[in-house]
Amino acid sequence: MSSNEKGFDRREFLKSTAAVAGATAVGTLAPLGAAMAQAGKIKVGLMLPYTGTYAALGVAITNGFKLAVEERGGKLGGREIEYIVVDDESNPAKAPENANKLVQRDKVDVVIGTVHSGVAMGMAKVIRETGTLWINPNAGADEVTGPLCAPNIFRTSFSNWQTTHALGKVLKAKGHKNAVFITWKYAAGEQMMQGFKEGFEKEGGKLIKELYTPFPQVEFQALLTEIASIKPDAVVSFFAGGGAAKFLKDYAAAGLKGKIPLYGSGFLTDGVLEAVGDAAEGVETTLHYADSLNTKKDNAFRLAYAKTYKLQPDVYAVQGYDAGQLLAAGLDAVKGNISNKAGMIKAMESAKIDSPRGAWTLSKAHNPVQDMYLRKVVGKQNLVQGVAWKALADPAKGCKA
């Protein structure tokens, strides 16, 4: 945090924003020259994927965040927002460097990012070393609010553990005594498996087999056959994007659908229902968001989002939106004086976020304590069936802060 250490003066600010308005009217170029005039703005660094597999998610998060800011008249804590965007390509190899770009070169006040867990791990390194404020609007790596937790690290999405933990209760209630978990062989899949296992075993259930397919392979036939031969009471799974679409279709085509009920982390059925058609019908998942929540807040959000971007919002847009809300809560509390970091962090920690997903607060490790919905695929929607777990908190294993 090297910029904005000077005290903050409201009149100064008004003058400088007027200057900025003038400057931007004249020309949009001159990134360096403009920096001085923009001293009054809060610099928000968006480090998200805008190319590659997760590009759509990066855009949804950006849209959500900007919507939250626009709803507050384009200002948080009375100060305008300047965005600095870095495409992280979902490439962990470039993660520390990309984070450095925002922190060291652009001297942003807060970093918003990212989607890919490996990239988030690389970011965490830089963030912890520099103490920059970081709001993570998606990447669910348990470590971020576990061993890596820190006062300046916040998350507005979920931990991988959270997305499957409530399924244990769900399966128990349906009378399933044993289950098989199938996912990609990578960290997120393993963490979701762990979250489910703990929840299921607590309820007296038994996870009889963990099945992994190499990431990002989408040939599932061998493991589906394996499942058929094991004949478990239920199958729990996590895949995302193209892999999820393929898995759902293959599961149905192999005739397992209807014979062995399929459950999953909510990402299994998010953003792919158009692509899979009826193959996903009836699949039940848990997630912190669902279609047709039909609350006042959610309806207003969905309407505003659709109006602004001519797109339907998804869970990623909500997470981005909440990142904006969380930052707003912090900046409002210190009246835009971001150099009062301690005050900001305190306000953010105790904030109650009025989210489209339902209100949530932060755990000690700064991960949302939130309701996990049980959703069921009906038509092309993830319809909410009820709350699977009220105010589920991540155990934050290894967090010493």
């Binding site: 061998a222 085509a253 005739g255 014979k259």
Partner: protein
């Protein structure tokens, strides 16, 4: 694993292998006959899948989409050869790697600009949308069997084209001695253009016909590219027969690997390749 499931896994492995063959056959042709290393092969697969999706949406039928899309990809392949690839025949493989690496980036971004970054599904044609029950809870989709049949037919067709036709003879001759064929008054340039276009069309066709199973999504080409390389290396460059054998080997190794040795499933195909290379450095059916 009891015997019935062993047989089913065998079927899974063979079926996956045939699918790999479909993508890898175009790659091995371009490699073997033209001596061109083509990293963009996976992009053609992706292009085919996206074409199938967008045209099936327009025409309402996958068959119609494929009938329209295949000629399109042939023309596209010819244009690409004429515009870029042609200039690389005399050059080191290095430049081929580089140029086709550049093409991957270009195609992937064009895909993003033209079609966006979402996942899309393509419905299985109604006629083939059924399953055959195998055990009490497992059945086999007819469409998968259909794809296997198409792969076998295509393999046969390729074999006949190369071994039994006049064009095939010219292609084979062109592969072994370019200058001699040229001096015989055969338009070798055109033959190369044609081979490249066939290779592109094969990859794109694989993407199209597989689209109902795989869905279409960003970066889908990258996933098949490397595995197809392994197929070509194991089979021997330019050998259609080798590509078939290697595809089936990899299909089986991968299938049984995932079930029996899940810890090393990701590495298993590469291990297989290393073993084959120790034994036969030019691949199973390659000319040393």
């Amino acid at each position: 694993m009891d015997f019935a499931f062993f047989l089913i896994q065998l079927l899974n492995g063979l079926q996956y292998g045939l699918l790999l063959f479909l993508v890898a056959s175009g790659l091995t042709l371009i490699f073997g006959i033209m001596g061109i290393i083509n990293l963009a092969h996976g992009s053609f697969y992706m292009l085919g899948a996206y074409l199938a999706w967008s045209l099936a949406g327009l025409t309402g039928s996958l068959v119609a989409a494929i009938l329209v899309a295949v000629p399109l990809t042939v023309v596209f392949g010819m244009a690409l050869e004429w515009l870029l690839i042609r200039r690389l025949y005399e050059r080191d493989h290095l430049f081929q790697v580089l140029l086709t690496y550049g093409l991957i980036l270009v195609f992937e971004e064009m895909r993003s600009i033209l079609w966006g970054d979402d996942v899309h599904g393509v419905p299985v044609p109604a006629l083939l949308n059924a399953s055959i029950p195998l055990t009490e809870n497992l059945s086999y989709p007819v469409y998968r069997l259909f794809i296997s049949a198409v792969c076998l037919l295509l393999a046969l067709g390729l074999y006949l084209l190369i071994q039994k036709t006049r064009l095939g003879m010219m292609i084979r001759a062109g592969a072994s001695n370019r200058d001699m064929v040229q001096s015989l008054g055969i338009n070798i340039k055109f033959i190369y253009t044609l081979v490249f276009a066939i290779g592109v069309a094969l990859a794109a066709f694989a993407g199209m016909i597989n689209a109902p199973l795989s869905s279409v999504f960003p970066n889908m080409g990258g996933q098949v590219l490397i595995i197809c390389f392994v197929v070509v290396v194991i089979g021997g460059i330019g050998s259609v027969k080798g590509a078939m054998v290697a595809s089936l080997m990899i299909g089986l190794a991968d299938t049984f690997g995932q079930v029996l040795l899940p810890e090393v499933a990701g590495m298993i195909v590469y291990l297989l390749m290393a073993i084959v290379l120790v034994w036969r450095p030019a691949g199973l059916f390659g000319r040393a």
